[in-house]
């Protein structure tokens, strides 16, 4: 009896957490390089519609995911050109990218509204993936496992690899990195493109796995939650994992409470829970002075080598 309630809840939490985890992980790398890309929501939508369109046309979902990554990374590349090469303001450009993504995805997705596609198959045998209890471990889309592997990979990359060290250095002090001889702009382009590709996977997780269909503004502001999550996690990949599942749980709570006819507080209040939780946790984090922040010192500052 408890299984029949608990297992769907856990699976919904994982489903809700995975896309914001993917998007936030990309943004974390971008921000570690010193760039603030507020266009996450827009890039996710571009990824969502591209992934859906390609899958609907070819009938092959992995191709859709790759196409989503390329399309979202291309939009990130545009952001990079504006902010890195032309040193436009990152905040304004990021917001513009979101608006652009909303509009472009709505236009491109017009003919796909209402269509359905074949969803991802499981990588595990049906005996495991559809087992009433074991499906809580084996019953997810391959993208869920990919997201967990990527958390470990990004964490390792930032802490242990030389390239990760250089990336952090660029985000920490662009002028110092430049004077030692690293290409600040080059590193930031790579990070921004990576962030775009990750947002693309996150977006098509909605259109290919969760719903699976296309509708305007399918991501429903989840990109903003992913942005908050990066701060929430203090720019640490492992905490990001924790935070994403926590947010996933809070979002799921709302759905299940509504379904269960829970009426003690207004449903709007429950819907606001993820955001209230963000504010509360951010306040607690910043009140604890001892816990040093890993915020990159150059976050959002355009790099203009003076000489």
């Amino acid at each position: 009896m408890t299984d029949s309630l608990l297992i769907p809840i856990i699976m919904t939490i994982v489903g809700a957490a995975t896309p914001i985890l993917l998007a936030a992980l990309g943004e974390l790398v971008v921000e570690k390089s010193g760039v603030l890309n507020l266009g996450l929501e827009g890039m996710m939508l571009i990824g969502a519609v591209t992934g859906f369109a390609v899958t609907a046309t070819t009938g092959y979902a992995p191709l859709g995911v790759v196409a989503a990554m390329i399309a979202a990374a291309a939009s990130a590349g545009l952001f990079g050109f504006l902010t890195l090469t032309l040193t436009a303001n990152q905040v304004a450009t990021g917001l513009a990218l979101t608006i652009f993504g909303i509009g472009l995805s709505a236009l491109a997705g017009e003919n796909y509204v209402g269509q359905t596609v074949d969803v991802f198959g499981s990588v595990f045998p049906a005996a495991l993936a559809e087992h009433p209890v074991l499906r809580v471990i084996f019953g997810y889309s391959p993208l869920v496992y990919v997201s967990l592997l990527l958390v470990a990979a990004v964490s390792w990359f930032l802490r242990k690899s030389r390239a990760g060290l250089i990336l952090r250095a660029v985000g920490e002090s662009d002028l110092s990195a430049h004077s030692i001889g690293y290409s600040v702009i080059g590193v930031r382009y790579m990070a921004v493109l990576f962030g775009g590709a990750m947002a693309g996977i996150a977006g098509c997780f909605y259109s290919l796995v969760l719903t699976p269909m296309w509708a305007e503004q399918l991501t429903a502001g989840r990109g903003w939650i992913a942005l908050a999550l990066v701060v929430f996690a203090g720019w640490r990949p492992m905490r990001l994992l924790l935070g994403a599942y926590l947010f996933g749980a809070v979002m799921t709570l709302e759905l299940h409470a509504k379904a269960a006819g829970f009426s003690l507080v207004a449903p709007e209040f429950l819907a606001a829970m993820p955001y209230l939780a963000t504010i509360a946790v951010l306040a607690i984090i910043s009140a604890r002075k001892a816990g040093k922040s890993l915020a990159p010192a150059c976050l959002g500052k355009p790099f203009k080598p003076s000489s």
């Binding site: 030389r162 060290l165 250089i166 920490e172 110092s176 004077s179 030692i180 001889g181 001892a290 000489s307």
Partner: protein, 519 residues
């Protein structure tokens, strides 16, 4: 000099222009293998631009760089390092939030495992007897310790040409002696050294040759061993150097600024705790605090200036006021002004105009703001007055603080505080990275202020500066202050040993002095 030995590096007609300035104008000179070559010039003479081109950070507009007889194009610092050029920067290129080890790893080309690198670093630290913990986060280190990172980073690359930009400004005399020993040893192995410093007697001790720049042009060459510091300074300025004029015997008033048992717990893991700090600065006196970076100077400055209020309130007194619990604004209103060590971001906001920067500290004493409204005209006038009185080289009060060279900004900040005519002035590293002419002007201004009856506290690692400037001094070591010494009676060796931490024990000091002399 025979012709068959090719110079390690030769510059031919190097020219570099920036909008509005010709930073280098047909500069030519050469450095032989194993030669320690000094590059002299005032702030803004073009030394930094020149070495940046050798290190590949900038490209010359015209002229050639010839390396071991081959003309080369130094495309970027990586290419420079590959060629064998190492560099210790004046403004450190460090990453605050990272460890010493990570910072050094970033300066190395090619991958090397952290443990191997750490072993190599410990090796270099041991060889040159430098103290540095590879696992400390840079933001917790003092300026002196940060510089050690740069030095170690350069030495690890086993360079053929080492460029050192102001390397000794933050070292004790013993450390300077050690560094010179290191550099001489390095030069004997054939490594050339291009040495930039404002400390002319050091150049006389260390260097084999010198090229003098003024306004971007080579104006002379000399053998520093045959010159005096004054003669070299005059070549740099192209005029006569003013000596500090200080009345031979001076009358001091009552104690005006007193620390009495100031004790503060260390902040975090890396802060230095201040332990029972006691001193008294009399009216008209310049009191010095010597010591190696990272021994509590920063904490002391914060406690004295009011950035970090402390208790009990009477641990710091200004005349009859107990001020230890007051904040900086309260103390400013009583007439206590302070100049911190770090110019950018602490002493001045780099993205603000000079006018706006005056409002930050002088708004009450100079009446630049009242009832919440800023008097822009008064502030501009005050900024203009600072620029005139302290010969700050800038386009005007409206230019950004960040656009000034280090020495000029320092003159401006010093001027801003001195012209407020403070009762007590606390200054940390008043002439760090400032050229001889500007340093003399700053020193003179401090002496003049003291003669008007202000009490002045100078925290500096430059012993020569303290000895020239101060009436009395004490040495800070690991958060504790030594007994007060009269400057006339103290020797450099004695003070240097106190810096090393032999606390108030005359026998130990004497023994160590002998030990030093025996070597």
């Amino acid at each position: 000099m025979s012709d068959d030995i090719k110079p390690r590096i030769e510059l031919k007609g190097i020219t570099k222009a920036f909008p509005g300035v010709l930073a280098n104008d047909a500069v030519s000179f050469k450095v032989e293998p194993g030669e320690i070559h000094a590059l002299l010039g005032e702030n803004g003479a073009g030394k930094s631009t020149l070495v940046k081109m050798i290190y590949g950070i900038m490209q010359p507009d015209a002229g050639d760089i010839v390396w071991d007889g081959e003309p080369v194009m130094v495309a970027n610092p990586k290419a420079a390092r590959k060629m064998g050029v190492g560099m210790v920067f004046q403004h450190f290129s460090l990453f605050e939030a990272m460890t010493v080890l990570e910072n050094i790893a970033l300066g190395m080309d090619g991958s090397i495992s952290q443990s191997k690198l750490e072993a190599k670093i410990r090796d270099v630290l041991h060889t040159y007897d430098l103290k540095l913990d590879p696992h400390r986060i840079v933001s917790t280190l003092s300026v002196g310790e940060r510089q050690r990172i740069e030095i170690v980073r350069a030495l690890l690359l086993e360079p053929q040409l080492l460029i050192m930009d102001e390397p000794t400004s933050v070292l004790t005399p013993q450390e300077v002696a050690q560094l010179f020993e290191t550099l001489r040893r390095l030069s004997k192995t054939g490594c050339s050294i291009l040495y930039i410093s404002h400390k002319l007697h050091e150049i006389r001790d260390l260097c084999d040759a010198a090229t003098i720049l003024r306004g971007g042009k080579v104006v002379g060459e000399c053998d520093p061993r045959k010159e005096t510091p004054t003669s070299m300074a005059e070549m740099m300025i192209g005029g006569n150097l003013k000596q500090i004029s200080k009345a031979a015997s001076r009358e001091f008033g009552d104690d005006r600024f007193i620390a009495d048992g100031l004790t503060i717990a260390g902040e975090g893991d890396f802060g230095v705790a201040l332990d029972d700090i006691c001193f008294a600065v009399r009216a008209g006196e310049i009191f010095g605090i010597a010591g190696v970076a990272g021994n509590g100077q920063n904490e002391l400055l914060l406690a004295l200036s009011g950035e970090e209020p402390s208790s009990p309130a009477d641990a710091i007194r200004l005349d009859s006021h107990a001020i230890a619990a007051m904040d900086a604004v309260g103390r400013r209103n009583l007439g206590l002004c302070a100049v911190p060590e770090e110019r950018n971001g602490h002493g001045a906001v780099v993205d603000f105009s000079l006018t706006d920067n005056t409002i930050l500290t002088a708004r009450d004493r100079m009446e630049l703001a009242s009832n919440g409204i800023v008097h822009g005209g008064a502030a501009t006038t005050f900024a203009g007055q600072i620029i005139d009185d302290f010969s700050v080289m800038t386009t005007g009060p409206g230019s950004l603080a960040g656009s000034l060279s280090g020495g000029n900004l320092q003159k401006f900040i010093m001027g801003r505080e001195i012209l407020q005519n403070p009762e007590v002035l606390i200054v940390s590293q008043p002439t760090w990275g400032v050229d001889a002419g500007a340093a003399a002007a700053i020193h003179q201004a401090l002496v003049d202020l003291a003669e008007n009856g202000s009490a002045i506290l100078v925290i500096s690692q430059d012993l020569d500066e303290l000895l020239a400037l101060c009436d009395r001094l004490a040495v800070i070591n690991e958060g504790r202050l030594s007994k007060t010494l009269n400057v006339g009676e103290a020797t450099i060796d004695e003070i240097g040993l106190l810096m090393g931490g032999v606390h108030g024990d005359p026998f130990a000091t004497a023994e160590m002095t002998e030990a030093v002399h025996a070597h």
